[in-house]
């Protein structure tokens, strides 16, 4: 494995054969080729490594319920109370190593009292040490004295080497207050974690279970009814799994793979978690109608996204529950055609600026309850992008003006309300005065005046009811 570090391709990992030939990680690729001309290398792919590691984490679930991924290259298993299931720690270790060897993996394993000690022992175990990969309980402190200071994984390694402190044992002989003063608390903290004086909690993630089903056909199919029946067949077990766990999904993605032109994704959403096959098919049908499958499709994969628990509710047969149910179904139907971001509800605005006042938020899967500020009745019902008006008679506001091809005469004026720019925002806006103008013709308008403007000083910014 190579990676570009400091402007040169360098080795990151070397396998056993390469190490015997004298190659070490950190060497530049040119040096390594000089030592061993037939060297086979591959650039490191961090994404692929991460995927492999997460796959291994799922694999490791068979040995321990608590598995922590330590990027870039380690897994830590909490095996407290597990060993007797395998008749001893050594047998368990053998089982793990055998299982990994079956997967064609080269691994270094260690079992120790603390996670840090196990990690250090796996990486830096001296070749001719009396202890094998398993450190007996209570022996971690003594055994780790032989390890090099790299095992502490701190940034003080080089400085320690310069001082001649090469092993952890040499380091432990020094007063920890001195070490902390010279190298920072990280170093003493690492030593404490290694010997178990300070606990190191495991960050074991609960395994995420992908809710997906798929079906591969021997021959491609292209008829809409066939696709729908396939969808029903793969949706039924998926819904059964969701139901078994008391879950529902906010969305479903159907990936249809054609032999000739790759995969197409169809997505439907729901306004609340759902696990009903009929509703899925009802929403998916118009999307499937749009599929273009000249040579048919042979692979189908249905995945549930946004999986959430569903609460079963006890309701009474009142109008409110029925209305709520009808509204949620309406959101689902309309959202799947127009897009869920087009279905909104009003939200309070954090600003006094007119252009920020008309605030709204998506309605689907949104349970936010807002606190509304005190109403400001002097503001209009509708606010729009200011439209410049044509002044017929001067005045403040103009005595006569024309807007949207209609002449208006000012009858009564309230205001002005001065709104200052938001100096802290990216788009602060302009200093504006707003006048409420009741016209002889009837409509009450909200006029904006820009105090500093040379021309086009007046515009209509809103309309009262």
């Amino acid at each position: 494995m190579t990676r570009e570090v400091k402007g040169a391709q360098r080795l990151v990992v070397a396998n056993a054969l390469a190490s015997e030939a004298g190659l070490v990680p950190g060497q530049s690729l040119a040096d390594a080729r000089a030592i061993y001309p037939d060297l086979l290398t591959e650039p490191q792919n961090a994404v692929r490594d991460g995927l492999l590691l997460s796959a291994l984490r799922r694999w490791a679930d068979q040995f321990s319920p608590k598995v922590e991924v330590t990027p870039p290259d380690a897994l830590i298993l909490d095996v407290s109370g597990m060993a007797h299931l395998y008749r001893g720690e050594a047998a368990m270790m053998d089982a793990i190593c055998d299982s990994l060897t079956d997967l064609h993996m080269t691994v270094r394993c260690a079992l120790a009292d603390t996670p840090m000690a196990a990690r250090a022992w796996a990486r830096f175990r001296p070749a001719n040490h009396p202890y094998s990969a398993i450190l007996p309980a209570g022996q971690a402190i003594a055994a780790c004295d032989a390890l090099p200071v790299e095992a502490l994984e701190t940034d003080a390694t080089e400085a320690l080497h310069l001082l001649g402190l090469r092993t952890i044992g040499a380091l432990r002989g020094k007063p920890s207050a001195e070490l902390a003063r010279r190298f920072g608390l990280h170093l003493t903290d690492a030593i404490d974690r290694l010997i178990g004086r300070r606990p190191e909690p495991m960050r074991a993630e609960t395994p995420t279970r992908p809710f997906a089903t798929r079906m591969t056909l021997p021959d491609p199919i292209g008829l809409i009814d066939d696709v729908l029946s396939i969808l029903e067949r793969i949706a039924t077990p998926l819904m059964a799994r969701l139901e078994k766990d008391g879950l529902g999904a906010l969305g479903f993605t159907l990936a249809v793979t054609c032999p000739d032109k790759g995969s197409q994704s169809l997505h439907v959403g729901f306004s609340r978690p759902m696990r009903e096959t009929r509703a899925l098919i009802r929403q998916m049908r118009p999307k499937i109608d749009t599929l273009n499958l000249p040579f048919g499709a042979d692979r189908f994969r249905l995945e549930a996204t946004g999986v959430q628990p569903i609460q079963t509710r006890q309701i009474h047969l009142g109008s409110e529950a029925v209305i709520e149910d009808a509204m949620e179904r309406l959101v689902t139907i309309v959202g799947n055609r127009l897009g869920f971001d087009r279905i909104r509800r009003p939200a309070p605005s954090p600003s006094h600026r007119a252009e920020l006042e008309c605030n709204s938020e998506e309605i689907a899967d949104n349970d936010t309850a807002h606190v509304w500020p005190a109403p400001r009745p002097y503001r209009p019902l509708q606010i729009f992008e200011p439209e410049y008006l044509h002044v017929l008679d001067e005045g403040r506001p103009p005595a006569r003006f024309e807007w949207r091809r209609q002449a208006y005469r000012t009858r009564r004026v309230q205001g002005p309300e001065r709104v200052a720019p938001q100096w802290w925002a990216d788009h602060p806006g302009r200093l504006s005065d707003y006048y409420t103008v009741t016209t002889e013709e009837g409509p009450t308008l909200w006029l904006r005046r820009l105090p500093m403007a040379a021309d086009q000083e007046w515009s209509v910014a809103g309309l009262y009811a």
């Binding site: 309701i315 149910d325 807002h370």
Partner: protein, 271 residues
């Protein structure tokens, strides 16, 4: 069904008695109007509302639920929101749905809406094209949400579009209010109102009414924002000038005020 029933939310519906299969929209379309009415009546009475009519103000024609009404004029939004407010006063569960272009929907100020209905009960749907607006309106009217559906549209719906909306409203039991920005066309709406703002109120004109009277009313707002009793405007219109050979002067008991605002086109005097 007193008390309650367990209801699985994921099923997405309250369990209903297996009803007789209902005719599809296309079949309903092909039926004559009288027969269609019978099909709907066979569905049973609506248990949600005590009355099928929504009274706006005393003296005005009522808005019928399960029908589509059209509103023109600059004051149309105020009229429609007043109707939504009255519907919530009838029963607190009625939601409001506002459908229109993104520009129309975004112009609504949340706090301004809050003066009529609670903002949390408002659903705003932005539909881009006219066809999308009409489709969304049909879905919203057909959903049994007992909603007041405000549809903001540029040109009024045609006869067939309006019939589709009307059938959807009859199925769903909602009240449809089509706010027409420009021009109404001949359509299947139940009533058509022309609402124009005047300096201290509004003039509401019933231009068309299938089952009741038409007329023009002056609406004034009280000091606290509530609407006062409407004044029939047909009495306020100036008396036609008497022919010269008639010596009797116009009756002094009739108030004679010049009309403010645009003259009501197509309005007939109230009987």
């Amino acid at each position: 069904m007193a008390g309650g029933i367990a209801f699985d939310e994921c099923a997405g519906r309250v369990f209903q008695t297996p009803a007789i299969a209902r005719p599809s929209l296309q079949v309903l379309h092909s039926l004559p109007a009288g027969l269609r009415r019978q099909v709907h009546l066979a569905d049973g009475p609506d248990s949600f509302r005590p009355s099928n009519a929504l009274g706006l103000l005393s003296g005005l024609p009522k808005l019928l639920w399960q029908r589509v009404h059209e509103v023109t004029g600059l004051g149309g939004l105020h009229f429609a929101l007043t109707a939504a407010k009255r519907a919530r006063a009838q029963d607190n569960a009625h939601p409001s749905i506002i459908i229109g272009t993104a520009r129309d929907v975004h112009a609504l100020r949340p706090e301004g809406l809050g003066a009529y209905v609670p903002p949390a009960s408002v659903t705003m749907i932005e539909a881009g094209r006219r066809a999308d607006i009409l489709w969304t309106a049909e879905q919203a009217l057909a959903a049994k949400a007992q909603a007041v559906v405000l549809i903001r549209i540029d040109q009024g719906p045609t006869l067939s579009e309006s019939r589709t909306l009307q059938i959807a409203a009859e199925r769903g039991g909602s009240l449809g209010l089509i706010l027409i920005a420009r021009q109404a066309r001949s359509s299947a709406c139940q009533t058509r109102w022309d609402c124009q703002p005047v300096p201290d109120g509004w003039d509401w004109t019933v231009v068309k009414n299938k089952t009741g009277p038409v007329g023009q009313w002056r609406i004034r707002a009280g000091p606290d924002g509530s609407l006062l009793d409407p004044i029939p405007l047909s009495r306020l219109t100036p008396q036609p000038t008497p022919p010269p050979h008639d010596p009797t002067p116009p009756s002094a008991s009739v108030v004679s005020l010049p009309p403010t605002g645009p003259s009501p086109t197509g309005a007939r005097p109230a009987p």
